[in-house]
Symmetry: C2
Subunit: 476 residues, 2 copies
């Protein structure tokens, strides 16, 4: 067995010796029962200290390559390496990995990179994040006394201080009365929905979903083995309520303050009927209030949760008001469901990192928060107004616009009835990206095929006009 | 209807007007079909601008309290508020909330607050986090060009740059060869385990768990509807392997480099047999390498994943090397499983916040990282050595020590065979907290009832000596 130790090498000498002997044993060069050279001899031969050799032998013994026997020395163990002979065939691995990557690169909700006029929905424009504020808050979080929490397990419900701020925020902005003990922080709406469903027995996991509705919610429900009941929202409130009452649903997932994606606002009488349905059928309403902050021609209507605190599970998110990269959503549970939650999630840890929670807590507790909300609202107001104005001017009555006056996107329908694929293709030819709406429908055949989504939160204000002009040329 | 507008009030006048009319409608004071006063009249009576009244009426119409009719005015809608009459009985709510809170306050894995000598396991001591480094990295993250990602949806697998750093780290420290495309970031080990299990068909969710083993893993498997097969680890490797081979398990969850909680290191021959079992039975091994960094008398043994990249699903975490409050764990998938993962998780978003990922990425890419690892290791080495020394000096042969020389905890067994509850109670009387081990056993009756856990990562070095002296008095 030839061993060489390179003392200049970064790897310590004992480690070099260990790995060369281990390799010799693995290769069979050193067979079962073979004696390793005596420590003093090996040390002399290699010109290293005895304890270097001893450390290498100890490591080999520790890992079971050899065993040391008092007075005799180290003897190679009887090991069967045959299992390792079929080496991983790397080219195949690479192929599998490449397949996986191409499979993963499906159309993102956020903007696909590399398009000059991208009316994406999920993403924000970089300039919209109050970076300097966040910097100073992060700095304070990692300096202050709060940082003691930075090394601890967090309350499974999330930082109490943040839940307290959210409770205050919901009261002042949405008229919701709740205490922090009812608020559970979650890393995104999808996870929240799965965790909500899991507190109900399997036979009650029948969910009424708005049709069209939020595809990621539908996905989450399907992952949680729910039976889904699509309830049409595009045929008016009466049709919606009739279908809901006729269904066997135990849960209804709704977006009353700004129906996604169509942008309707649910009327008060429909809200009251919805609550009545829940009370009489013993069902629960999941109110996804994902975008309540953005209302451009009126104040936001009160949350369903503020009308009915007992049957409404409220869902909020920081993705729209701050950033989807922050991954902070929250559930407001009716008090009567807390016991069920604890039973279903008794061993869960908090999935949210401490730093982001502490930054948000201190942000919401500061005067900068309300200023920020106000700035963001008026910023998106300008984007919204400009987009609507440009669409009317450039495309006039060649399109129908849905969902204006609220939220962060519009739906645009081509009066000539061209398919959304064609509309997107034509737009891309002019370096403009608009987005499909097919995925929001559970049924493959639906009446709004020639409708595309245009977000206005991820595009620079100055690009909106030119983007729409190009769209007009593309579709004209 | 009496209305008063307080112009000094923070709430805008139209909002005050709106809410008082809404309240009058809800109370029935203004019944269905009633006309709202003409805008000019109302404005004159209240001494406010017409558009103030108009805004209030529009909001009422928008929300469905009233409808506007050209040339006539605003008429109150026919609404049924009876559903709201059974008001939420707040005292009951409070009771439910208090019950829930007391149910949630079970013994945390991290240190319970308010005990002078707390040998907790999960938490770190505040001084151990490199706060100044993290501060500057957070500052850079929120300044630099990277911050463009701060407003976008993140790759569902996590930041590529961080996965790249982890791949390099695993190669240099654990001999693991993998590419970033095989690494999936997860908010904690529990979530990772659930997501791993969900890629296997229901009938294959039969999991061999080490007995005793990590209770949070057992919990995660149970939540994922797995059938569990406890495999004894305390009776030696042969018993372990025999039981595993005799079982019908399709997955084996193991901690080879530092068995949790007993601290054994799996020998090479056992590792080889384990891999052989997986290959022959077509099963997969989940290697939880939760604490590979901390080895005090030798180098860490190579990861199972480095021996077998095809059948081993590797699981790592930043909870031990950085902080459990960071919630960053990661999976290294065999290439063959990527397609299954994508099929099972096609619609998942990334659950980890961008900021923490970017901070960790830049930390691992910097020279500060290796310095930090080295400092932390030697720090815990000192804690470990001191604790062992003190236990031997103060308690001598009245206790047996398990799991020394590695990890962040020891197990201490009372030779007199007193129960762990009694040992903990006696310790608490001297203001010392040691932790139970019962929860690590699936079977209620097990042979190690008089064994308690003592962590040394959450306690100050200078408190260890006094803590153990008190323990000696408590148990003496």
């Amino acid at each position: 067995m030839h061993i060489c130790i390179d003392k200049a090498h970064a790897m310590p000498a004992y480690r070099q010796l260990y790995s060369q002997i281990a390799a010799a044993i693995a290769s069979g060069e050193l067979g079962a029962g073979a004696m390793l050279p005596a420590i003093r001899v090996m040390a002399k031969d290699l010109g290293v200290a005895r304890n270097t050799v001893e450390a290498a032998y100890k490591q080999l013994a520790l890992e079971g390559y050899a065993k040391g026997q008092r007075g005799i020395g180290y003897i190679v163990e009887d090991l069967d390496f045959s299992v390792l002979e079929d080496e991983p065939s790397l080219p195949d691995e690479r192929a599998l990995i490449e397949q996986s990557e191409s499979a993963r690169n499906r159309e993102p909700l956020g903007g696909a990179r590399g398009c000059s006029f991208d009316f994406c929905y999920g993403d924000r424009h970089p300039t919209m994040l109050p970076l300097s504020v966040l910097r100073s808050l992060a700095d304070a979080a990692l300096s202050g006394s709060a940082s003691a929490d930075a090394v601890r397990y967090i309350d499974p419900f999330g930082l109490y201080g943040l839940r307290d701020q959210i409770a205050r925020y919901l009261h002042s902005t949405r008229g919701i009365r709740c205490v922090p003990e009812q608020i559970i922080l979650q890393p995104g709406t999808q996870v929240a929905l799965r965790n909500i469903v899991s507190i109900f027995p399997a036979e009650e996991r029948i969910v009424a979903m708005e049709e069209p509705g939020y595809d990621a919610a539908r996905y989450a429900f399907m992952c949680a083995q729910c039976a889904l009941r699509p309830i049409p929202v595009h045929e008016g409130e009466k049709a919606f309520l009739d279908a809901l009452l006729a269904s066997d649903a135990h849960l209804a997932m709704v977006t009353p303050s700004n129906q996604f994606p169509l942008g309707f606002i649910m009327s008060l009488s429909a809200r009251l009927k919805l609550v009545e349905w829940a009370k009489e059928s013993g069902s629960y309403i999941i109110e996804d209030d994902y975008c309540c902050e953005y209302r451009y021609r009126s104040s936001p209507s009160p949350a369903l949760r503020s009308i009915d605190p007992q049957r409404t599970i409220y869902l909020g998110t920081m993705s729209k008001i701050l950033s989807p990269a922050m991954r902070i959503s929250y559930i407001v549970l009716p008090a009567e469901l807390l016991a069920r939650w604890n039973a279903a999630h008794s061993g869960d840890y908090c999935s949210l990192a401490w730093l982001d929670q502490e930054i948000l807590r201190s942000f919401m507790a500061s005067s900068a928060w309300s200023r920020y909300i106000h700035t963001t609202k008026s910023l998106y107001q300008r984007h919204h107004d400009r987009l609507v104005r440009c669409l009317e001017r450039e495309l006039g009555d060649r399109v129908r616009i849905f969902g204006a006056d609220a939220g962060l996107h519009l739906l645009v329908e081509d009066v000539d009835g061209r398919s959304q694929d064609e509309l997107m293709r034509l737009a891309l030819e002019k370096d403009v990206r608009v987005y499909p709406t097919d995925q929001y429908w559970a049924s493959s055949s639906h009446p709004m095929d020639s409708m595309v989504l245009m977000g206005f939160s991820g595009i620079a204000a100055e690009s909106i006009g030119e983007g729409v002009r190009r769209l007009a040329r593309a579709w004209g």
